[in-house]
């Protein structure tokens, strides 16, 4: 009888310890992360001017329509961050203008259960399909960014992510169809809460991508 009591005591005890196993994130904001990586061989002093397209490319689940409501706001934020670091923005208006030394692309993923590791996302989705860049060759099907770090990681975009890629304007790109990525910033978070709170969190996380990349500063 006593042994039985002791045994049930152990059981109760273990139960108690398991049931109060400590917590973790309590709210969505605490799930936000800013992830950055860069080409360790790149000489960032070589890059002084940049441009960026006026839209965000969305990768969304089938049947969903991307919402471009916040494109201007996010693009402006990205642009501001680069100018604050000391880079000069060039408006893509005419071919006569000076060619920028890098361009910045902004992509957004939402509710896409997709892993970088198994297949490259741009092969699957088409990457900036047919985007006509006035200074260079048209990025058509089969084109994609080439990340110097391997593999572009295993992020799963089952939440919402904004990926900012800093891409060198490289003449060799037209033959290889790969554009070299110098720096990547990913703002990743759960798409929960009001639109405004999501966008606020995204902006904080985008800013953080730049804060944690001091090598970009001029």
């Amino acid at each position: 009888m006593k042994r039985l009591l002791f045994l049930s005591f152990i059981g109760l005890f273990a139960q108690f310890l398991v049931s109060c196993y400590p917590g973790g994130a309590d709210n969505v904001e605490e799930m936000d992360v800013a992830i950055t990586n860069y080409d360790k061989n790149a000489d960032f002093t070589k890059y002084t001017t940049f441009s960026l397209p006026d839209t965000i490319v969305y990768f969304v689940a089938k049947g969903e329509t991307p919402n471009h409501e916040f494109d201007a706001q996010i693009l402006q934020l990205v642009k501001d961050n680069f100018t604050q670091l000391g880079y000069t923005y060039i408006e893509p208006t005419s071919e006569e203008d000076q060619q920028p030394s890098f361009i910045v692309t902004v992509s957004a993923f939402s509710n896409v259960n997709y892993y970088y590791g198994t297949d490259y996302w741009y092969n699957y989705w088409g990457w900036y399909p047919g985007w006509n860049w006035i200074w260079g060759p048209t990025w058509g099907p089969g084109w994609g960014p080439s990340y110097p770090w391997y593999p572009v990681t295993v992020y799963s975009y089952r939440s919402g992510s904004i990926v900012i890629d800093m891409i060198a304007t490289n003449q060799e790109a037209s033959t290889t169809k790969k554009v070299p990525v110098l720096w990547s910033g990913v703002a990743d978070g759960l798409l929960q809460g009001s639109k405004q709170s999501i966008i606020d969190r995204m902006e904080t996380t985008i800013d953080q991508c730049f804060i944690q990349s001091p090598y970009l500063k001029k």
Binding site: K2, F6, I10, L17, E30, V154
Partner: protein, 202 residues
Amino acid sequence: MRKLLIISLILFGLSPLVKGQMLNLNYQMSVPIGKMNDYAGKMSFRGMDLEYHHFLNEKFSIGGMIGWNTFYKDKGKLTGDFRFKGSKDIHTITGYQYRYINTVPIMVMGRYWLTDQNTMFRPYLGLGLGTSWTELKTDLGQFSATNARWQFAFAPEIGTIIPVNDQFAFNIGAKYTYGTKSGSVEAMQNFTISVGIVLMGN
């Protein structure tokens, strides 16, 4: 947990066969020290161990123990360098970090008892020797990084049992545990207070 139960069942099964033994279940509170304190420096109120002691004579006993302690610390927003599985590249990630340490020490124990069996308090000095499975886990956004290793471990202890009758007693003890650095898991140190119940067979 099932393993624990099986071990305790075996110990119980043996108990009628052997004289001069005790079985001890403890609740434990622990403070991480050193590198473990850097990792998740917060007192833990989640711990237990199960001990068995067999008396060689009035003054000496040998036995064994298995335990479990969980440490947890909310580190807040931090920037750190991480490697993704299968990649050598370092990514910088900023986010809220939640860190856990789980340790499962399994040791052989020797004890020296300062008094004979008939005193009100029966203080002891002991030393445990064995291994500790130590797992460090960091949760960050949707990501989780886990490092786990078996460490060589030892644990000197001091304490006393307080017999209620010749079959039942309480135990109060203090213990220092050290697990050697193993691979990427740093040396584990903690200080533990144990409070528990003892079943004795004479």
